[in-house]
């Protein structure tokens, strides 16, 4: 599925909620359903800096696609991580690099883009794009 299609799917899903509580509850659900990261990848090198909670992000490159797995020790952050994995995992480096992130605003999580939020959403996206760039140069 194309990144844009997944993003539109998410926008649709989040548009069903009327208030912040429902949105957050759904995000927490998404976090809980995030596939477990292999514990050997929960290393210090895979921790994303700039997050108040710990976020581990691991990537692999298979059949020209970048596969992300991730985890966080905070459940809301884990929900955000789950959303990013759903959007960006199993995509080509080119698709990841050219993708925009407007959907975050559209699903009502704009506040998490603020640098003061300390949840590292901006750092996570940056790291995802860095991995994509590294795999692209390998190709």
């Amino acid at each position: 599925m194309k990144i844009e299609t997944i993003q539109n799917e998410l926008i649709d899903e989040f548009s069903m909620f009327e208030d912040w509580m429902e949105r957050y509850e759904y995000m927490i659900e998404l976090g809980k359903s995030l596939p477990l990261i292999n514990s050997k990848y929960k290393t210090d090198e895979n921790i994303i800096k700039g997050c108040q909670s710990k976020v581990w992000l691991h990537s692999e490159f298979e059949n020209d696609k970048v596969i992300f797995s991730a985890d966080s020790d905070a459940i809301i952050t884990k929900g955000i991580v789950a959303i990013l994995v759903r959007v960006f995992s199993n995509q080509s480096p080119q698709a990841i690099l050219s993708a925009n992130t407007n959907f975050i605003d559209a699903i009502g999580l704009k506040e998490h883009l603020s640098p003061t939020r300390a949840n590292g959403l901006v750092s996570m996206i940056k790291q995802i794009k860095m991995y994509a760039l590294a795999y692209q140069t390998q190709q």
Partner: protein
């Protein structure tokens, strides 16, 4: 006076009228501001001082011959005297205006760079903010002095037996906070100063967390250096002070070079200005200094005894209410404690709690509070911290409790 409510002069509802920000909404809910240990809110009396400065007498100070400069200089120096009297310093020139506590500590640490020698021991407490650790580590790198740590106990207090043992190393300098920002513990600084002096060590007390709650008397304490920030005590950010005994201010070299701090400048040699100007290079935060003075006046008008008694009531109430929440653990349970509660809820990350209750209009701090060593001691990655000021109420604490219960429901 044990109970502030018995004192008719203390009326929290009247006090709250002085703070416009307390009447705003956050995320559609009335704001509950419990992040006072990070920064306090500013009363109208201080805001008006700032407005008045920029509206009527904004000018550079100390050298202008014109009227505005005179007025600004007078107000700025009056503020220094207000602060001198508040802390009971012997001389006004023992009060150095800085940009805040961190600046003050760096100024002293820099000065000791020319005093300490290789192998000299300096002592830091385990309860310090990073601001009172890193400048000394930098100093040790430069001088090859040795930094030793006074350990803490499970209650969040300093281990005074270990402190006594460390004094046998004849430290040159001891630096401890008056009150821990992460846990609220009030350290026995009077004893620490006395014992340190007995072995010839100078003492720096970081008073950033103490000054909103306590009125320290630097002469009674006989402290060598006492530092604080205005924004923790109803003043603006970007201004603070260093109190140092005259002896030390004469002895320490200037920290920064520039205008204001010189007596004569030629390309061959520059002589420095007298105190306090030697340590106040460049145009200072004039308005900030004046507003700092106004903040001190404001708090004194309410009265520190009233503040302490009322905040203690809030602390006792909040401790009881929060302790009743299942799975909630409070860190730092010293009997000597100010109105700060650091806590975690079983199996829930502090960040998640902070995020959810923010949606309910409640501001607390989450994370390490710039005190990683304390978090490491307890083996935790951080805490949620609610810190109360004299303008907070029990009703607000009830709202915190209610919000935490809601957060627990959502997050578990």
């Amino acid at each position: 006076m044990k109970n502030a409510t018995q004192n008719t002069t203390f009326d929290v509802h009247k006090i709250r009228e002085d703070f416009p920000i307390l009447h705003r909404k956050v995320n559609g809910k009335p704001l509950v501001y419990f992040d006072n240990a990070a920064t306090s809110q500013t009363p109208l009396q201080v805001i008006e001082k700032i407005t008045n400065y920029y509206s009527t007498y904004n000018a550079n100070i100390h050298r202008g011959v014109h009227q505005l400069s005179q007025e600004a200089t007078d107000r700025y120096e009056e503020a220094r005297q207000t602060i001198q009297q508040h802390f009971n310093a012997k001389h006004a020139h023992e009060i150095i205006f800085t940009s805040g506590t961190t600046h003050s500590i760096n100024l002293v640490a820099h000065g000791f760079g020319s005093i300490l020698k290789k192998g000299d021991v300096i002592l830091v407490s385990a309860l310090e903010h990073h601001s009172n650790i890193v400048p000394w580590q930098m100093l040790c790198e430069k001088t090859e002095a040795i930094l030793k740590v006074i350990p803490m106990t499970e209650l969040g207090e300093l281990d005074m037996n270990q402190f006594d043992a460390l004094l046998k190393l004849n430290p040159k300098l001891v630096f401890v906070n008056h009150i821990s920002n992460a846990l609220g513990t009030i350290n026995p600084i009077k004893i620490i100063i006395e014992k340190s002096h007995n072995v010839g060590a100078a003492v720096l007390i970081d008073g950033a967390q103490a000054c909103p709650h306590i009125k320290p008397d630097v002469q009674e304490l006989d402290v060598d250096f006492y530092v604080t920030s205005a924004h923790k005590m109803c003043g603006p950010t970007g201004v603070g002070m260093l109190y140092a005994k005259e002896y030390w201010l004469e002895k320490l070299p200037p920290y920064q070079g520039g205008g204001e701090m010189i007596s004569e400048v030629t390309f061959e040699k520059t002589t420095y200005a007298g105190l306090p100007h030697k340590f106040e290079a460049g145009t200072p935060n004039i308005c900030g200094g004046i507003a700092f003075g106004a903040a001190v006046d404001y708090m004194n008008a309410i009265g520190f005894e009233n503040i302490a008694a009322y905040e203690n009531e809030l602390l006792e109430y909040a401790t009881a209410q929060l302790s009743a929440i299942e799975g909630l653990k409070i860190y730092g349970s010293s009997k000597q404690k100010t109105s700060v509660i650091s806590f975690n809820i079983e199996n829930i990350h502090a960040y998640d709690i902070g995020t959810i209750i923010d949606k309910l209009g409640i501001a607390i701090r989450t994370g390490q509070h710039c005190t990683q060593p304390i978090m490491d001691f307890y083996g935790i990655s951080g805490t949620a911290r609610a810190s109360f000021a004299f303008y907070n109420t029990k009703q607000e604490i009830d709202r915190l409790v209610e919000a935490l219960k809601k957060a627990i429901l959502m997050l578990s």
